[in-house]
Symmetry: C2
Subunit: 417 residues, 2 copies
Amino acid sequence: MSAQNAFYAQSGGVTAVINASACGVIETARQHSDRIANVYAGRNGIIGALTEDLIDTNQESAENIAALRHTPSGAFGSCRYKLKSLEANQREYERLIEVFKAHDIGYFFYNGGGDSADTCYKVSQLSEKMGYPVQAIHVPKTVDNDLPITDNCPGFGSVAKYIATSTLEASFDVRSMSATSTKLFVLEVMGRHAGWIAAAGALVEDQGIPVITLFPEVEFDQEKFLAAVRAKVERHGYCTVCVSEGCHWPDGRFLAEQGTRDAFGHAQLGGAAPVVANMVKEAFGYKFHWAVADYLQRAARHLASKSDVEQAYALGKAAVEFALDGQNAIMPTVVRKSSAPYVWEIGKAPLAEVANVEKFMPKDFISEDGYGITDKCREYLYPLISGEDYPPFENGLPKYVTLNNAGVARKLGPFEL
Amino acid sequence: MSAQNAFYAQSGGVTAVINASACGVIETARQHSDRIANVYAGRNGIIGALTEDLIDTNQESAENIAALRHTPSGAFGSCRYKLKSLEANQREYERLIEVFKAHDIGYFFYNGGGDSADTCYKVSQLSEKMGYPVQAIHVPKTVDNDLPITDNCPGFGSVAKYIATSTLEASFDVRSMSATSTKLFVLEVMGRHAGWIAAAGALVEDQGIPVITLFPEVEFDQEKFLAAVRAKVERHGYCTVCVSEGCHWPDGRFLAEQGTRDAFGHAQLGGAAPVVANMVKEAFGYKFHWAVADYLQRAARHLASKSDVEQAYALGKAAVEFALDGQNAIMPTVVRKSSAPYVWEIGKAPLAEVANVEKFMPKDFISEDGYGITDKCREYLYPLISGEDYPPFENGLPKYVTLNNAGVARKLGPFEL
């Protein structure tokens, strides 16, 4: 069997460790150059495949590829672009096959979240439905930690570590100031539908910090919330609130919505923190500060979780190994064997069971009052933020790599998206 | 000469390294226990002195005091409370002397910014004006970097490192997303009147990032700003904006003001980022993300600058040594001998020349178009963010110390603030 090429692309919101998965894919493929001649990366995700805008990763030095392991963001560019069904847009699938054929692509590695798992699943069906043999493997990635079956998703552990650390640090700060100044600190974190990231903020309760966590899974009750804040301030002198961007009123309205939508049609959020802070100020007059971490949290490679980096790399590596083993339409997963000590191994899940399924926080992970987490949740979270994996620094700043991203010569005509 | 006690207090907004100064003060005092019997820390700053709420630091273990070096925030509590002049509130000064006498306090170490230098200066005059011999030394601290004479202020270097790193990481993120999604990222940073912190964001231009920095020193010009953003997006596909909370219109109005004021009467700011982001969206329709770092930036001990930590400690140590040398009414300073290699030493400045003087960015530190920094500014900034000084971690989180803060038995009656 002669060597074929592989296609790799990054999809959706990027993370601190998605490039570690890219590193795992490319380094492993290079070890099997008898089977995989080259990894062509899609420039800006699947769009790179459709427009035949392919990046020749063989032209990158081993040193540059290794540096992906400690570089946040998507080194080849990502995109928010979801393929329609084969019936609704056959033209796109025909184009994909045309590009795959032109560049002898037999392996398709797609690195993304739930929407991307759906795209990957559709590609995995091309062999059967359109007669083009391609093996499609999905590499999980999402800070939202909402993919099913896998114990957790690469990207989440590092955000969780960043949010827990930031909540701890800012809480120490407000504690110092509370006698004469700030009594309330509100940190807004990502998480449209699932409160996994917000739950990380709740971990600092273990260090004696009075923190109230607002999850998307729990309908917002203003009166109850205000009473909870007041009780914490009266007891501790201050209070920290960790609010998920997806926190919403009983009627479904988000605490703050900017009114715009992203390319997938999801509401673009931001601004729950000032809403919450002003609400408390109006009720009790407490001086407040608020922060919105936004991209800072998912890009914070400088504070990545070591276990997260290791898993991101291992899942990229496993994707290639599964492909070489002849597998199709699967996603490598993290399987937890033990929390203390933390032991995990690589498993796999059929894409049919992954695509478009969202995993929420289990009910027994959220405390009875709805404002904190249970011991079961703690046991789940701590291993995911364990260990540090600092990037190299130069002149006081992290030394991240920007690849050359040389294009592969085009063989086909243009394609209108 | 028999040993006397020292008073130490933290004032104003706390930082990632103010406790490193406390560590320097206490460890050095302990080395001279023949001259300084105990360091009494004010609980919540100068208020602790006025209310005779003193903390007995001799009861803290050497290990706990050493851990202050890597713990952010103010370990003894800080306050925003400015002493009036001797003429306007003689009662407060008489009370201070009463407390100093009751607890045999001969040294006064005050750790703060410009307002606090003023308080420290007033205390230093008590000997001459009210016949009580006390030596008052000010230990500089402010993330705003706006104290005069000293080359820089402890706390600033670490914020600068955090903001430059975060700007770099978030810019890598938006660069990945810009083909189909976010094209504009706005990060709001601290700095009411001086743009030192915003200038740190501008450093990432050296890594090819298209960044526009909005300084408080430069009046905001909407038309010119929008044109600059558009030019960057058209050339690079995306643009990062680093906006100082103190950025303002020609008439002096801040881009965003919450309408509340802190205890010093300064406007409490926050929210320039969404204003700027929406302004660009309305003009060009670019999808945006914005973040407000707020307390996260000044509490981020996990990413402290090594030179900042070393200087914070050295200035605390120097304060004690100056006091033992019989000095009064001074502030130890950082004197830069060379930028490359970075060489600095400890100097001193008379408090009369420090109190209430604000140091702005020099005109020749800001680029001609007002949106970036000059090479002179780069040369100034890089040494301040140099080196890493990670705290120890445990269970995935930084291991910060919370002191016991045992009180000193009161000898006097109560005092109404």
